[in-house]
């Protein structure tokens, strides 16, 4: 029960976090590490397909490039992605503010 609710709660937040993190260019592995360093660990099997989906939706762009003698796929927020991220952040801030007000009564 808790696990499924937690998963539901995290799903939207993860998209927001990934989009925000990809304002700077990353490839899959470093993106995952960067998110984990910020305290938001994501499984590889969740993150990598999510990157593909966001790219298909036009929110990310990607390119293959060689780095440290290895071909890597680098992702970055697209123009559309930037606009969507701004809207999502506004929404997130609104929700966050409301939740703080609601939860304040419980303290």
């Amino acid at each position: 029960m808790f696990d499924s609710l937690r998963l539901e709660l995290r799903r939207g937040c993860l998209i927001l976090a990934v989009l925000a993190q990809l304002r700077d260019e990353h490839y899959g592995y470093t993106l995952r590490k960067a998110l984990a360093d910020e305290g938001l660990a994501i499984e590889e099997s969740t993150l990598y397909p999510l990157l593909r989906r966001l790219e298909t939706q036009g929110l990310l762009t990607s390119e293959w490039r060689e780095e440290e003698k290895r071909n890597k796929r680098f992702y970055r927020l697209s123009k559309d992605g930037e606009a969507v991220l701004e809207l999502l952040l506004a929404e997130w801030n609104g929700i966050n503010e409301s939740l703080h007000k609601i939860l304040k009564h419980e303290k």
Partner: protein
């Protein structure tokens, strides 16, 4: 790295051809990064078991591949409630028409016993239900497919509040106990009916009217089936009398559904007994018209078969009404 390539090959089996190479290349790159980082941490190359642990954590090949596929559903969340509603409306209708068809067959066929008819109905209903469910699923899958491609006009959430059904002002009779007067009238009526049933075997005119004289002219007597039926009827009436008395005891009202089911079953059994019998009237003496008796027996049998079907249908309806309010069925509601 042989294990990594085997893993990627296993994932690739489930990926679509057009994106397979690209996805595998990206997966390889990310997994090799992870392996490199681990090797750097340990200061030595990873052994087979350590690579296996990393791959195991990454996920089962089929599951990993499935996450790369576009999200698909046969019937999506917008259409699904309408699909469920249609199933809930149509499947009972399928059951009803199957029952009607079976009942007609049972009435017209003199060779089929009640048990055969019931078993035939219980077994024969499943293919019809499966076909109906499959057709409805196919229709809704098509609607979903069309809707997702934007080829279906109209908004599924469009509705008019003014068209909502009027508010029910009277509580359902099943929800509130009947008034004391009604219960008393019901009990008195039942006692009168019981007394009549006990009295009538010695006064057949009060059940058959002038038909008694016709029976006398036929020189017939009642068959043995009536004696068995009469005993069952008395048992049934005693049970019903107990029920009529129990409604005055609030604590005993919870037994009522069970008592009702028992009396319903007994009623069906009694009617089944009559419907299965073929001889209701037997010659009383040597002057009896055997042909006419056979015709009467046949007609009475046909009538009882029809009544049996009605009684069984009533019981099925009662069962359905009861099941509809049961917890598992309510959980299906949305």
């Amino acid at each position: 790295m042989d294990l990594l390539e085997r893993y990627l090959q296993a994932v690739g089996q489930y990926l679509p051809t057009e994106t397979k190479d690209d996805t595998i290349a990206e997966l390889r790159s990310n997994l090799m990064e992870q392996i490199d980082a681990r090797e750097e941490e340990l200061g030595r190359p990873l052994d087979f078991a350590e690579v296996a642990t990393i791959l195991k954590e990454h996920g089962k090949p089929e599951a990993v591949a499935l996450r790369y596929l576009p999200q698909r559903s046969l019937i999506g969340p917008t259409v699904f409630p309408f699909y469920l509603l249609t199933l809930r409306r149509v499947l009972p209708i399928v059951v009803f028409w199957n029952f009607v068809a079976r009942a007609v067959l049972f009435v017209v066929s003199r060779n089929e016993s009640l048990t055969d008819a019931l078993v035939g109905f219980a077994l024969g209903i499943w293919p019809s239900l499966l076909i109906a469910a499959a057709v409805i699923t196919a229709i809704f899958a098509t609607i979903e497919w069309t809707r997702q491609r934007g080829k279906l006009p109209g908004n599924w959430n469009e509705w008019d509040p003014a068209k909502l059904p009027a508010l029910k002002t009277h509580a359902s009779p099943d929800c509130s106990p009947r008034s004391m007067t009604k219960r008393m009238i019901d009990l008195c009526a039942h006692c009168l009916w019981f007394a009549y049933v006990l009295w009538v075997p010695w006064h057949p005119f009060w059940i058959m009217g002038p038909g008694v004289f016709y029976m006398d002219s036929l020189n017939v007597a009642l068959g043995p089936v009536w004696h068995t039926f009469y005993e069952l009827l008395i048992t049934l009436l005693v049970l019903q009398l107990a029920m009529k008395l129990l409604v005055f005891v609030a604590a005993a009202r919870s037994w009522m559904p069970v008592m009702k089911l028992v009396t319903d079953l007994l009623g069906v059994f009694a009617m089944g007994l009559l419907a299965m019998a073929t001889t209701y009237f037997v010659p009383d003496n040597a002057y009896a018209d055997l042909h006419r008796i056979a015709v009467v027996n046949h007609s009475v049998n046909l009538a009882f078969r029809i009544v049996l079907v009605i009684v069984v249908a009533g019981m099925v309806k009662d069962g359905w009404d009861y099941a509809k309010t049961s917890k598992p069925m309510r959980q299906l509601a949305f």
